[in-house]
């Protein structure tokens, strides 16, 4: 039997549940009452929808940036020599990943609610309660909370597999700790950073449940309006058109990220 035959079940699975649905999406997006139409795409160009797209984009960018700012130092610490003997913190970072993201988001809700844990603590200390739930900040917090492990892990991996000798070579050639980091560690961890950004940005830009739960329905994100077309408005044509836009967006951003790291290593950062 040919080795490629082993991929058969997977190919069948992909054909049935990825390729076929994609073809349906394209079909519905351009199918009018009488043949081909661009009406669904044109409908998307209305300011309401463009605004939602814009909000989805900037929340995802913020979320990715914050995850990077939190995740890189964390990964750097975890991959360091000082840490190698104590795995407790690593497990603490991983634990949230083992749970369903809806559970995590509900947990976040009970923290941020008007009568939630944080506000009760504030009240107990005699301070004014804060209106957190239903704000963009709450949605962003929920997104960062959910996605930060996906930033830490790839960066951690790229730092961990870095050859200790290369760092020693840099020190040997006169690089102080700052220059070792800037000229060697950072450029060599670029592949990890790129894959971290990809793994956070993609789910962040398409997210929908988090905005619903933590935004109290005050914010529509792009994922929300797609869901709505299919489940409530029953407008499959428009829903498919929006999905296509989203897909193009994702493909474009992958292309952009690959340009940062064309050789899949940290060249050009000197």
């Amino acid at each position: 039997m040919k080795r490629s035959a082993f991929a058969g079940p997977y190919v069948a699975w992909m054909a049935m549940f990825t390729v076929a649905p994609l073809l349906f999406v394209v079909y519905f997006a351009f199918k009018g009452d009488s043949g081909f139409t661009l009406a669904n795409i044109q409908k998307f160009l209305a300011p309401t929808y463009l605004n939602v797209l814009w909000r989805s984009l900037y929340l995802a960018v913020y979320c990715t940036a914050i995850c990077l700012l939190i995740g890189y130092p964390a990964a750097y610490f975890l991959a360091g020599k000082d840490f190698s003997k104590n795995q407790a913190l690593f497990v603490l970072i991983l634990i949230p990943m083992w749970m369903n993201f809806l559970l995590r988001t509900y947990a976040m809700m009970s923290l941020l609610e008007d009568s939630g844990i944080i506000n009760q603590l504030l009240k107990a200390m005699g301070l004014q309660p804060l209106a957190m739930i239903g704000t963009e900040g709450a949605v962003l917090t929920g997104m960062v909370y959910n996605f930060v492990p996906f930033m830490i892990l790839p960066i951690y991996t790229s730092l961990k597999k870095m050859d200790e000798r290369i760092i020693e070579a840099a020190e040997d050639l006169g690089a102080d700790p700052y220059n070792v980091f800037r000229r060697v560690v950072l450029p060599l961890s670029v592949p990890g950073v790129v894959s971290g950004i990809t793994m956070v940005f993609m789910p962040a830009v398409t997210t929908f449940a988090i905005s619903r739960l933590l935004g109290s329905g005050n914010f529509w994100l792009f994922g929300d309006i797609i869901e709505r077309q299919f489940l409530e408005a029953n407008d499959w044509g428009f829903g498919s058109a929006l999905s296509l836009v989203m897909m193009m967006l994702i493909i474009a951003s992958i292309g952009l990220l690959n340009r940062i790291d064309p050789k899949k290593e940290g060249s050009g950062a000197w």
Binding site: R165, D172, G174, A175, W270
Partner: protein, 354 residues
Amino acid sequence: MIEETRLIELIGISKDFDGTKALSDINLYIRKREFVTLLGPSGCGKTTMLRIIGGFEYPTEGTLLFEGKDIASVPPYKRRVNTVFQKYALFPHLNVYDNIAFGLKLKKMSRGEIEKRVGRMLNLVKMTGFEKRSVDSLSGGQQQRIAIARALVNEPEVLLLDEPLGALDLKLRKEMQLELKSMQQELGITFMFVTHDQEEALTMSDTIVVMNEGRIQQVGDPKRIYDEPKNAFVADFIGESNILRGLMLEDELVSMCGEKFPCVDSGFGINQPVDVVVRPEDIMVVGEDVGMLTGEVKSVLFKGVHYEMIISAGGFNWKVHSTTMQPAGSTVGLSIVPFNMHIMRRQPPKEAAS
């Protein structure tokens, strides 16, 4: 060439790794422009010693002096010492030019000056024209040359080389040995070279430091190390040798294999147990009746320049190198001139090991 100034001095240096002694009480000095080789089997502490000098390990005990100043706590990036690492450790994200320019850029040297120096180095290691190549595209020997250039371009006081030729094939290795030696003489830089290859050490060094189990066994120039090994370990590790147990009967007379042999050593006392070392090329195969010992040829191997024969005589299997061959099974006489018998005090069992 070698100046008498002591550039680096190790005084009573010891290093423990989690309770295991890697180095014990190392005392050694290295002079300016000297080519020093640390020679020993793997795990003997030679790399640890180099790493202490490079600043990558901190000695558990002892003092490390550089031009008379204690530098044990000076970080590697402030030491005027550069290293050629065992597996080269080139920067994979930089091309050949940027690898070599790494140290110069950190010194904020002008672009023109950097270009000039990198060019000169590439010329020295015969890699001109490779500036823009990625280091992954280079062969082992080429990477080796870039690693040497990257270290030397900084004009260090001392260049540390950690088994730099270990990954090269024999021919390339021999070539690089000569090139390294001539580079060292041309640049007038002190080289500290680590190897487990005794031939390499004998070829290149001004001074060889033989090490075993974290201790220095002998320090001396190659000829002295080869001709006058201080103990059985050195004799066995450097070149090939026959090591026998003997008894020093009196000055200039030793007994072994049930016979008495004249030698040139004295001062061991009367009836002292000793180790006797005889190099295979120092044993003369003579007529059956004129030899000091009579024995039977057990096996013969052709080695190119000479034959290697195992000859059983006096209850010992002698390894003998000779350009003339005696067939296996024949009876021969063996003779050794007094000058070629090396007598050494018997080591306490631990250090005489292997």
